[in-house]
Amino acid sequence: MSRVAASLAALGLTVSLHGEPAAQTEPMAKKIARAAESGPAEREALARFKQEIAAYAELHAAEAARLGAKPETAAAQKALAQSIAARRADARQGALLRPEAQGLFRRLIADQLKGPEGLDARKAVVDGNPRAQDEPSPFAPRVNAPYPTGAPRSTVPPSVLVALPALPKCLEYRFVGRDLILVDSVAQLIVDFLPAAAPELPVK
């Protein structure tokens, strides 16, 4: 059993409940287990990604400490975003989600979203997505840009979240259209993105 499948099992999500098989969660666990099978190159890319996000978390903590303000106020959040953006002024798309890791991310995501099994997850990605058809204010992600005020947040399906590498508390994944973005969860700053990370998203 893979690490992620094991973690789901540890949560009681694949075991029987009240004597009934947990039919809903078994396909999800299988998908996740499949997605976690990586070769050596991907494992190396994954390790590098973890180093990059750990370094980002340190930067976030250092800037937050330097500014000294608690993140409760909008002013403090904006100051933190500006400070981090200044420290990462040279950052470009791919700084954290490096080219060698991009294939792995696309595969991990596709494994959760493709085919009939992925229909519910695709619906979740489209739900609230700022580039959904009924959303009047779509935007294109840009490194060091703030997540636009008033733009909705896509749901990130639990199956995708469990399949993707875990993030430190200061970062989270979101989708903008099919792009995967990494957002600073306090500064609301886009720190990196992966274009076309998700496959096409038909929901019927």
Partner: protein, 369 residues
């Protein structure tokens, strides 16, 4: 003859106008038992629209007869921009009478909410995207009794950390009643969104495992109470506190009761193993009411003593014309230009107090409700 007719018409119009301005009457059906836990439920509120203010005015009117101690918010608390002025116009001004009466708001996050709302002190999230609290007859406090436990979940982002937290919190809770609330409904008959099956796949097993008794969600802009689902859990969709999609409910096997013609809020009372509920429209009309016996609890051998009979509530008169709310930030409704006629004269809208997340604005004038 003509003069007399004009006089009659004039008097009739004046009488009609007087009726329109007068309070209407509604009915409170909840039993108001001694020692019960009393709260209200609102979802998808934060537009600053006239309709949101009208629902808020009804909540204030009902609070006078049914003094609920807190309100759970089911997400999409603030649509669009969230400047200090927006926070006032879309939250603290419409609910100011309740806030001043000591009612506490407990928010969960929707897909239109900036996650940093968790730092907005009036939402009582204590900086957390997900959290739990307990309530008892005396309100919200560090309790000595088991009370009723509430679990505010961030359904936008059900990562492993949150699921582990939920499993642990539910497991640790000694309360008989465990109530979960969040934004995306696990069961919904909405055409626009419907059931969130991915969220259901991970949350429902935990609810069953730990005996969650009732679930409240928003997202779909209407009212729906499901028939009991797995584990006997009834799921409510209450997503029309400030947003409405008329005609969005499709006939479904799930539905016990649905209402998508106007905005609404809910009142809930928990007494022993019984959860009494009443859904009330923007006009003050009761659209659903009843009682849910806690799933898994023994059926009482004898009927519990009845509470006081239903009582009338003086509510603001509101024209029965709820309009569908456009979606998205661009569909953000314009605030009412003048004091709504539905606001009771005894409920002025005082200046909102700035919170720690709000930057003080140069102008002390609050937005006109």
């Amino acid at each position: 003859m003509l003069t007399r007719r004009r006089l009659v018409v004039g008097l009739t119009l004046a009488a009609l106008a007087a009726v329109a301005e007068a309070s209407a009457q509604a009915i409170l059906t909840l039993p108001r038992r001694d020692g019960s836990v009393r709260f209200a439920v609102i979802g998808d509120t934060g537009r600053g629209s006239r309709e949101q203010y009208e629902v808020a005015a009804q909540m204030t009117a009902f609070h006078k007869e049914y003094p609920f101690t807190f309100v759970i918010m089911l997400g999409d608390n603030i649509y669009g921009s969230d400047t200090p002025g927006d926070m006032a116009r879309k939250f603290s001004t419409p609910y100011q009478p309740l806030i001043e009466a000591g009612v506490r708001f407990q928010a969960s996050l929707g897909n239109h909410d900036n996650p940093n709302q968790r730092f907005y002190r009036p939402f009582n999230m204590d900086g957390q995207r997900y959290y739990s609290f307990r309530a008892s007859k005396s309100g919200l406090a560090k309790l000595t009794d088991i009370g009723v436990s509430f679990f505010a979940i961030d359904s936008n982002y059900l990562d492993k950390t949150q699921l582990e937290w939920l499993d642990k919190e539910l497991s640790a809770s000694k309360s008989d009643w465990k109530i979960a609330f969040f934004h995306h409904p696990l069961y919904s008959s909405g055409r626009t969104h419907g059931s969130s099956l991915e969220a259901r796949a991970v949350l429902e097993p935990l609810f069953l495992k730990h005996g969650v008794g009732a679930v409240f969600a928003g997202h779909d802009h209407f009212y729906e109470r499901t028939k009991p689902q797995k584990g006997g859990i009834v799921h409510w969709v209450s997503g029309a506190g400030g947003s409405l999609r008329k005609g969005d409910v499709r006939a479904s096997q799930l539905t016990a009761k649905a209402f998508d013609r106007d905005y609404h809020f809910m009142l809930v009372e928990i007494a022993g193993d019984d959860l009494f509920y009443q859904a009330i429209s923007r006009t003050g009309a009761t659209i659903d009411s009843g009682v849910l016996h806690r799933p898994g609890a023994a059926v009482a051998a004898a009927s519990p003593p009845p509470g006081p009979a239903a009582i009338p509530v003086a509510v603001p008169h509101v024209a029965p014309t709820g309009r569908t709310t456009p979606e998205g930030a661009a569909g953000e409704a314009q605030p009412p230009r003048a004091t709504p006629t539905t606001t009771p004269a005894s409920s002025p809208t005082p200046k909102p107090k700035p919170s720690p997340t709000e930057k003080p604005e140069p102008s002390p004038t609050p937005p006109a409700p």
